[in-house]
Structures are given as C-alpha cells and as structure tokens.
C-alpha cells in the first residue's frame, strides 16, 4: 500500500538541518548521510550528498528529476564493474 498523502514525504529530520547549514556556509562540500530511506526534496537540488552504501559514500548530485525518489536509489550496495568498452563520461 502506498504511503498516505496527508503524512507528506518521509524524511529523516537531520537532513534538512544539514542541507540548510551547507547552503548557508556556501562551501562546496559533500554532505555525508546514512539515511537511504529519505525522500529527495526540492530543497536539496544542487547539493551533493555522500550516500552511504554500507561500505563507502557514493557522491549523489541532486537534480530536478530526482525529486520524489529516495537517496538509496542512487547508491547501489552491490557494484558491477562491467567492461569499459566504448562507454563515455561527460565532465559536468
């Protein structure tokens, strides 16, 4: 069953404080968080979080289209390396 709408999105409380603190300081830092279950809110867009996957912190740069998803979706706990082949990365 889906979560009741009247409750609003789930969020561990400390994340908002951490995000506000980071925004006000204006420093480019990675916010280490363990809360994979928290929903990504519009306030987080533009910030980079380090989302713990049980081993290390995976950098997650929050963009518009990630709103409503959970942090854990972007920090897999099992890593498949695969082949480099013809894969490319663009520097943002």
């Amino acid at each position: 069953m889906a979560r009741s709408v009247w409750k609003g999105p789930f969020l561990d409380g400390y994340l908002l404080k951490k995000a506000d603190k980071s925004r006000s300081s204006g420093r480019n830092e990675i916010l280490k968080i363990w809360s994979r279950r928290s929903t990504i809110l519009p306030q987080f867009v533009g910030l980079t979080f380090g989302v713990y996957n049980g081993q290390k912190f995976i950098p997650v740069l929050v963009t518009d289209n990630m709103i409503g998803h959970k942090f854990g979706e972007f920090s897999p706990t099992r890593t498949f390396y695969g082949h480099a082949s013809d894969k490319k990365s663009k520097r943002s």
Binding site: E29, K32, I58, P59, V60, S85, D86, K88, R91
Partner: protein
Amino acid sequence: MRICVGQILGAHGVRGLVKLASFTEDPEAISHYGDLTDQAGTRTFPVELVGSNKGHWIARIDKVDDRDAAQALGGTRLFVDRAALPPPDEDEFYHADLIGLRAELADGTVLGTVAAMHNFGAGDIVELALPSGKRPLLPFDRETVPEIDPAAGRIVVDPPPGLLDEAKSGDVQP
C-alpha cells in the same frame, strides 16, 4: 591499444552461428567498429549480427560454417583498436582512456590511479585506487577533477574536504 567490446559465448544451432555478448553502450554498436579481433590482434572475426535471443546477439562469423567450429570459439573475447572509436565530444572521455591514469593533487602529490568510472543515475563518478587499499569515489565534475591529460597519463583532482578520509573520528551517524 585494444578495447574489449564483446565475447563469443558459444555455438547457436548447427549452422555455425555463435552467441555473442556485447559490452558496448549501444549493444548493436559491436558491429559498427569494423572487424573484431582476438586479444593479440592476430585473428580477425568479420561479424554479421543476424538476430538476438535472451539478452545476447546471434551472429554469423565468416568461414565458421558448422557447430564444432562455432563451439571452438566459445569464450573468445573480441577487441577493436582504440583508433576505431569515433572522437568524443568536448569534455567527454572514453572510460578506456581514463582508467589507469595517475590521480594527482594540484601540488603534484600522487594520490593513486583511476580504477573505474561509474554512473548510478546521479552523475558520473571516478573511483580511485589508493596505495592504502581504499577506493574513494569522487564526482566527475570540473571542480573536483579540474584537469584531465590522457596524453601525460594523469588527472588532477581536488577532492572535497573529508571525502578521502572516510573514517574520521568526529564523523558519526546521527
């Protein structure tokens, strides 16, 4: 430099067709880079894709006409020359060009090497291999990776504070 783009998995049917795994970003691109070779580059495999089945390609290889010949190729990894890949756009890099580069700080201190590139849906990530055995992950952006010089075999990284030393004493889960 040769880049592995696929692997022959085994025979398909009795007419010399083979099952082919493609490692390229677009699976069909395995047939776009010209003739494929083995790792040493001594044997060439002109491949023609004839269909797909259960997540892999069915392909015909020139001069492979029966099942025994197709089965004998099972496990062969297929390579293309790096020069056969089209040039990337500006600020775009092939993973094959980045992996293995030396990662240095701006002052020239060597941190380690580039071990892998990832993208888990939230931007590209560089994985470094440090001599200590740690493998920190850094965002692949201009602030964190200001300089990339594949010709010189190095990238310059400026890791955000606290990212490299992951187990700091004051860093606790709330």
